[in-house]
Amino acid sequence: MSSDARRGIVSYGAYLPYHRLDRTSIRSTLGQGGGAGTRTVAGYDEDSTSMGVEAARRALWGAPTPESLYFATTAPAYADKTNATAIHAALGGSREGFAADLGAAVRGASGALRAAAATGGMAVLSDIRTGRPGSADESAGGDGAVAFAFGTGERVVAEILAQASVSAEFLDRWRVPGEPYSRVWEERFGTQAYLPLITDAVTRALKSAQVEAPTHVIVSSPQARAARAALGAFPTASRADGLELEVGFAGAAHAGLVLADVLDRAAPGETVLLVVAADGADATVLRVTDAITRRPTGDGVRDQLAVSREVSYPDFLTWRGFLDREPPRRPDPERPAGPPAARSQRWKYAFEGSRCLACSTVNVPPQRVCVHCGTVDRAEPVPLAATRATVATFTIDKLAFSLAPPVVDVVIDFDGGGRYGCQLADADPAAVAIGDRVEMTFRRFHTAGGVHNYFWKARPVREGH
């Protein structure tokens, strides 16, 4: 097949939050649940939207935001309102772009990948997994996000060879909207239901792709036993690490995270069988191309797993809203208002300052009248979301409200100009110092009146982030 006809993944990026829960801490606290290893934990200031932004930023590889963006999660930050538009805005996407959400089910990931592959857009898969304290869902779950940009031609790093699907309606897990965790049927029922579906989809996909023995096999399913059983049909060497021990099952993001991990190390010519088994089975066969050498280094799944900070089980419960702790006696945060947020979209979401065309001073936030020379209305936008900065000074605020006190505030100087004061995310208050290097990260500051206030914080630069 000529390279012109290639269609597939042209770039990708994963995001794993900084925090890990040691599963043994669940049992030591509750006397039940837990298990071995860790699970990833979204910060108190993160949700599926903000993590989706972080993954999508890593998936751009220097290219502009794709024209279309499909967002899948089982934990949408908003219902009724599209979440993908916030991701699109945070990426600085053009007004003409298309951005939409898919479902609130694990299989939405397949939908996002299919839609993005068909249109040359980006699929953003992001999830936060919760369960009743002490439940299997709680300990086996994980949080994270991944994004894939699709296209054609020489840029394709993983070509789609074939796809096959089976859809089935049966009750293995479900959640009424608004409930904080899902309910599951007896696991053995799910296993026997899924296995024939997986076999059917895999058989047809491999036949269509004319691939007998894929180099890497990924089977991702909320039904862990079914996934393990399906993988058993393949040689041990082909089975991808499902990341269960360090990340956990990351819902709609999981298959993508494992695929990203595989692609991080894959060599040209290798093939990948990707199976998502949720309410049916979707099998995709991919072939890695020579273009895989374009992938950036240093920010892969393993790199991000290597840097982390442990979160206590009570803090984990608090962040997820399962432990209602006494807040400080401070006014409730006020909800952001619609019109000003809309006016400042390029600042609030894309983190654009302005550069004065008369004296080149960078103004953060953007100014109509230059802070340095006073020139009025002669400025150009300057994107700062990807610009690193150095801490000029900082403070630790123990009075300010936070689910993870104390709040660390930093004044930072951007490389190339621009000074700004903001919160420091994922920080160890005892370790902050003048001269620290920071980068910007998109976060959910708080939720008030049902409105999520998204904006940017600084974060210490760490290898792997």
Partner: protein, 395 residues
């Protein structure tokens, strides 16, 4: 009242005023920059750095002088932020004028701004510090709606006639506002539409209430003897008066909700400063605080434009219409402009500026001599009041 006044000591030599309305695309900073830039631009040769000091009126759109100095990049000058409820814009003007009259500064600017639409609230919300939750939750329309039945009863005006009076006031102000390109509402409204509009509080329908809008305005003020160095047609300050009432109304059974005592007191003071003996004949035009239609009616008597108990007749006879004996709210008033607290007082002065210079276009009055502006804030019985008198000639 013990005030010496600053008659003819101070002049306005430049003004700016944004359109008032729902400025979804403008921030407070934008409105301030626009009003100040227009004001400075109206005076050839004047630069921002020529202005010695600034007064900024805003109730809830910012705190401290930095609200103005930061967006405009005003460098190390005194910037005073003032707030006095709905007279906030006038208060910034008053203080700025006094600073020039004192000799402290040669050239100052009074600025007023408010952005009410962004809050998403319907009607005015006064920002309040932490409190015990026992304060009255009466809304502004409810408080001012108390005036109408009291006036009717005291002067024997039946309810239908009272409604007709209120309707005429709203109708008149919309007629005037329809002739003003800076007004929020620029359409004439039929009397039937006004009188049949859904009730908000008491007898007050929607059209008896001023709107919620955003806006900013600014005035450049210098010593009167310097005025002609800036413009051929300055306007001179004849009187500035301000009172804050002791708020005894809510506690005093004798208070009958047919007058604003504070307005009476401050109007008397203003007339004394300006040497006005008979306001009904000597005042050429007035911009008054028509937050609700009964307010404007009561003000006609409190300001001395009508005899007690006769204001309603003057209203119905068109005495305060654009072509009447004493045009009131020729620019359309709060009814047509809405009421961005910090900006309204300066918006009123802007109309005086235009009228006295013969620049009011379609609504220009024939050779006006003295103009009056008036604001009040608070509630009947517990309010602050401001009055100014300005003229085109220096006596």
């Amino acid at each position: 009242m013990a005030s010496n006044g600053i008659r003819d000591k101070v002049a306005i030599v430049g003004m700016g005023c944004t359109p008032f309305g729902e400025h979804w695309d403008r921030s407070v900073d934008d409105l301030l920059i626009d009003a100040v830039t227009e004001c400075i631009g109206s005076v050839p040769g004047v630069e921002k750095d020529d202005i010695d000091a600034f007064w900024l009126g805003t109730m809830g759109s910012g705190s401290s002088g930095l609200t103005l100095s930061r967006p405009l990049k005003i460098g190390y000058k005194p910037v005073t932020r003032v707030e006095n409820y709905c007279a906030t814009g006038s208060e910034s003007f008053r203080n700025a004028a006094y600073a020039v009259a004192s000799g402290a500064y040669d050239c100052v600017m009074a600025v007023g701004v408010e952005k009410l639409k962004d809050s998403g609230f319907s009607g005015l919300v006064i920002p309040t510090p932490a409190n015990d939750g026992t304060e009255s939750e009466l809304t502004a329309p409810a408080m001012f709606s108390l005036l109408a039945p009291s006036y009717s009863k005291k002067y024997g005006v039946d309810a239908d006639t009272m409604k007709e009076v209120m309707t005429h006031i709203a109708w008149k102000n919309h007629v005037n506002g329809a002739r003003n390109p800076r007004a929020q509402f620029r359409s004439e409204v039929a009397k039937e539409t006004i009188s049949c509009s859904p009730l908000v509080a008491g007898q007050l329908g929607i059209f008896d209430c001023s709107g919620v809008s955003d806006g900013a305005a600014a005035a450049l003020i210098v010593r009167a003897e310097d005025a002609h160095r800036y413009t051929d047609r300055p306007i001179y300050i004849k009187a500035l008066s301000f009172v804050a009432g002791p708020a005894e109304g809510p506690l005093d059974p004798a208070y009958d909700y047919t007058t604003f005592t504070e307005v009476v007191r401050c109007a008397e003071d203003a007339y004394a400063q300006a040497g006005v003996k008979d306001p009904r004949t000597e005042i050429s035009m007035a911009e008054v605080h028509d937050c609700f239609t009964p307010t404007e009616l009561v003000l006609m008597e409190d300001l001395g434009f009508s005899e007690r108990g006769q204001g309603w007749k003057d209203v119905l006879e068109g005495f305060f219409d654009l072509g009447g004996g004493l045009p009131v709210n020729p620019d359309g008033g709060l009814k047509s402009f809405g009421h961005p607290i910090g900006a309204s007082g300066l918006r009123m002065l802007f109309e005086m500026w235009l009228q006295l210079r013969g620049e009011a276009g379609e609504r220009q009055l024939a050779s006006p001599r003295l103009g009056m502006t008036h604001n009040l804030g608070g509630a009947p019985g517990a309010c602050v009041s401001f009055a100014s008198i300005v003229g085109a000639e220096r006596d």
